[in-house]
């Protein structure tokens, strides 16, 4: 299974990664190489196998419906590249 240039571009956009034409060319080759290599899994018939969901049988931990967190806007915004009046600020979004 190999990927073409258009696919590289499409997934780079899906992943929100700007890539140069040069990177595109390199990635086309590298990703195709990796996908060719993982294609050996096709040898295995897994039609009757359940996907793995956990190492040991255990039930999911849950939290009680209580307020135990929050009220720390200072911490939340502390590392923000741009903030104003306790909001995160980003380039204008057009809907």
């Amino acid at each position: 299974m190999s990927v073409d240039r258009a696919t590289v571009r499409r997934i780079a956009h899906l992943a929100r990664l700007a890539i140069t034409a040069e990177e595109e060319a390199r990635l086309e080759k590298e990703l195709s190489g990796i996908l060719d290599w993982v294609a050996q899994l096709d040898e295995l018939d897994t039609s009757n196998v359940e996907p793995m969901t956990r190492v040991a049988a255990m039930t999911m931990k849950k939290r009680e419906d209580r307020i135990t967190d929050g009220f720390c806007a200072g911490d939340i915004l502390k590392n923000a590249p741009m903030a104003d009046d306790h909001y995160f600020v980003v380039p204008k979004i057009v809907e």
Partner: protein, 490 residues
Amino acid sequence: MDQKTEKSNLIEGATGEWEVVIGMEVHAQVTSNAKLFSGASTEFGGEPNSHVSLVDAAMPGMLPVINEGCIAKAIRTGLGLKAQINLSSVFDRKNYFYPDLPQGYQISQYKNPIVGEGEVIVDLLGGERVVVGIERLHLEQDAGKSLHDQHPQYSFVDLNRSGVALMEIVSKPDLRSSDQAKAYVSKLRTIMRYLGTCDGNMEQGSLRADINVSVRRPGDPFGTRCEIKNVNSIRFIGQAIEHEARRQIDILEEGGTIVQETRLFDAKTGETRSMRSKEEAHDYRYFPDPDLLPLELTQGFVDGLAQNLPELPDAKRARFIADYGLSPYDADVLIIERESADYFEAVAKDRDAKQAANWVINELFGRLNKEGRDIVDSPVTADQLGSILDLIKAGTISGKIAKDVFDIVWTEGGDPKAIVEGRGLTQVTDMGAIEKAVDEVIAANPDKAEQAKTKPALAGWFVGQVMKVTGGKASPQAVNTLLKQKLGIE
């Protein structure tokens, strides 16, 4: 034409009749203290980013832990929708980028939702009934909020809502008119408010609908649909559907085709419009969230929740009709809110139920509506209204005086019985006094008295006059009887 459609639901186009087909995805905020996967508060409002935990802000290394209260409420809702409860369900990641989606994915349920198929019976006030199939209900996180109109170059992001628990309730495409759609959402709201699982507060965004609309010629297969996102009032739901159906019909009648797309409803114009940021086709790359194990529940847990369900709207409606002899219309009006139904039942207990329903619907609801108040803070309690009805029944006051008493209790409060006695509103049952008044009126109107012998309808006029003379306190029954005697009417 399928059975869901009544002739009256069809839309007249320039080239004939069209049928609108509607399916809905309702996002209902779970009534909870804390968020779905964090301990931050869900309280509405608050300073920006104050109801946010490190988990909600997707700080590096943060992990979700599920709120068991939200699980229980999703199941309660599922039970209220008579739906299949899935003892095993899975949380998936829905991956996309947006500034108010801190993780870069929404934790939702995709392949294995917590609740499967169910149904909702929708009774329209005109008597029409539709059974709407429920496809599924799943739990998911809400996103934060972006403000776009504060600055020419920037948007502002507040994560207070980020991670709040939502139930997405997906209907089958079983709705055939905007009225049906509105009634469906109202009914969902009623059911969830009965269950205490969603407060249904649409102004605060607790209930929002994505509406899938398509049109077709009756009997044809489904047409191409458009999805109208995030409509947040029942009225807007109606407007959005009306506009969208008309838009699609116009396109089709002019020989065009419908492009499947996401649209926005503009409340200012009452129109839907294509979203400007018409992104490339979404590819959400769903996969099970590896931070969370599958959600496994025991039948015992579900049974425990089932045993503690309140009486639901449909059952209550049926009981009101059967036990109290109410009309379906009255029953529908009374059951919309659990508190109204409870109020009515408190008033109706050991009293004339139809009379109680009339008073609750006409006097009480009328007044509440007029003043924009809620049943829970009604100035007149069920006990007070009950004792007003008791005073009518005992003949102590007339229906007319009763309304005055109701008004006094509404504005001033107090015990109706004491008010009636204290203010001398007691009905005059002293036959002597009534007879005197009757005689006076007849004596003052000899011509009319003469006419009344041949025109019995004039008796009503005499009753009015006597009531006037007695300040409304005379027992209308006694006045009637006496007048008929004295005027010689059979």
